[in-house]
Symmetry: C2
Subunit: 95 residues, 2 copies
């Protein structure tokens, strides 16, 4: 299982639009048949910091996600609303 | 849902013992009735970096985890095998 911990920083003026776009991207991604889990979270100690925690059972499942219509449409929109784009940490699940 | 992304750095000489202790802690934690998910992962780009991603439905469920026998026994052991202890990022799940 490939596990992605992706973080973004969002300025207050972009917050409403970002939440709208990212909520839709998270819902559609979580609903993908090959998705092992997709969680959109907000840091408790900093409301401008968000993360999305993704679980992809196989490299193919992640690739299919990246090729999906909702990703191609919403991901660039979401990135434009962040300060420095997305910072990814990619890991392998041990347990 | 409270989501915890906790990271640790482990030196090569402590690796085998750390993996043994942390694998047991992860398995027992994931099996707790109130646990919403517990994932122990290793960074793909740095084998000395690990994270455990925890999902706790309520503050009580996390408190019960911290009071469990396996946590009280294994968590301090695990910490002793890391370089700087555990770095926690606590978040709220939005989606």
């Amino acid at each position: 299982m490939e596990v992605i911990y992706a973080t973004v920083h969002v300025k207050d003026e972009n917050m409403d639009e970002f939440l709208k776009v990212m909520t839709e991207l998270a819902r559609r991604s979580a609903a993908e048949p090959q998705c092992g889990g997709y969680h959109f979270v907000q840091r408790a100690d900093n409301h401008n910091e968000f993360a999305f925690i993704e679980f992809w059972p196989t490299p193919d499942s992640h690739e299919a996600h990246c090729q999906s219509q909702h990703f191609k449409t919403l991901f660039p929109k979401m990135c434009d609303l962040t300060e420095e784009g997305v910072q990814d940490i990619i890991s392998r699940q041990l347990v």
